[in-house]
Symmetry: C2
Subunit: 166 residues, 2 copies
């Protein structure tokens, strides 16, 4: 029990340095299930390691979170990633963990991420106000979304266009 | 007390991802204090963070290790580094910490680093066999010294040359 607690605090520190919580938007031709908007909202908790240290990813998967996938990245080839991106698993396995074993650096991002995962589970992303709120939150995360493919303005414009055709 | 223990395990995890133990060799015109070889052996425990998270470095310095310096890197400018490179401080503050709060990924490097710090304190680097042993250890660390300025062969050659002139 104590051994596990020590491991869990170790994991909090490790993830605070090496992990990330991401919300990304992928443009779709059609709205998913004909509901909501033409954007796929992808929520993802992730960490990477060089293949030499793949063990640590297996420890996260098997001894800590009991969920998630490990796979080799196509580029760079020597890197493996541990990923949890199913909202239900995030809600049941990842979020309770970091509620208990608190992050220092990434706690702000984690709190925002948590809110979005809950909104997805409650299907709030299918409403205009819910979608816009998720967009606002996502662009506050990870140093204000510097590395994003689409701008917030562009996504909002497409939503407005879709709504005007209804 | 428990709070500190949790923090210390957090730090072990954080450093396992973000920290490094390094041994580097800098060419000198003269042997230091006219003793040993014309190479300065620099031992260093270090971690970096973007200036947005400078707090975590201060936490390491003030609440965890009670030693070390924090400074802004010249390049990239937005990065701060926390560094402990005095062998005595490494021996008294850093090494006992990671003997207790064990690393997973970097434990092998830490064990090698520890051996070299002790050899420096015992002045073994001033003898030919000691210097060569440190060189062997250093080149086993951090993925076999891929990013080194000088090759092991080059350093050994200069030592051989210096010895032949004695």
């Amino acid at each position: 029990m104590t051994k596990n607690k020590n491991l869990f605090w170790y994991v909090a520190g490790f993830i605070d340095g090496e992990g990330s919580f991401n919300i990304s938007f992928t443009k779709q031709k059609y709205a998913h299930n004909n509901q909501g908007f033409k954007w796929l909202i992808h929520v993802c908790f992730q960490t990477y390691q060089h293949e030499d240290h793949r063990d640590i990813l297996e420890l996260l998967q098997k001894q800590v979170f009991h969920t998630g996938r490990i796979y080799r990245k196509s580029s760079p080839y020597h890197v493996f990633t541990y990923t949890v991106d199913n909202p239900r698993n995030l809600c049941e396995k990842i979020i309770p963990f970091f509620n208990k074993y608190k992050l220092i650096i990434k706690d702000k991002d984690f709190q925002l991420f948590k809110e979005v995962v809950q909104m997805l589970l409650d299907k709030k992303h299918l409403t205009e106000s819910g979608f816009k709120k998720i967009l606002d939150i996502a662009f506050k995360m990870n140093a204000n979304g510097k590395q994003r493919k689409y701008s917030k303005e562009y996504i909002l414009e497409t939503v407005k266009e879709q709504l005007s055709r209804k």
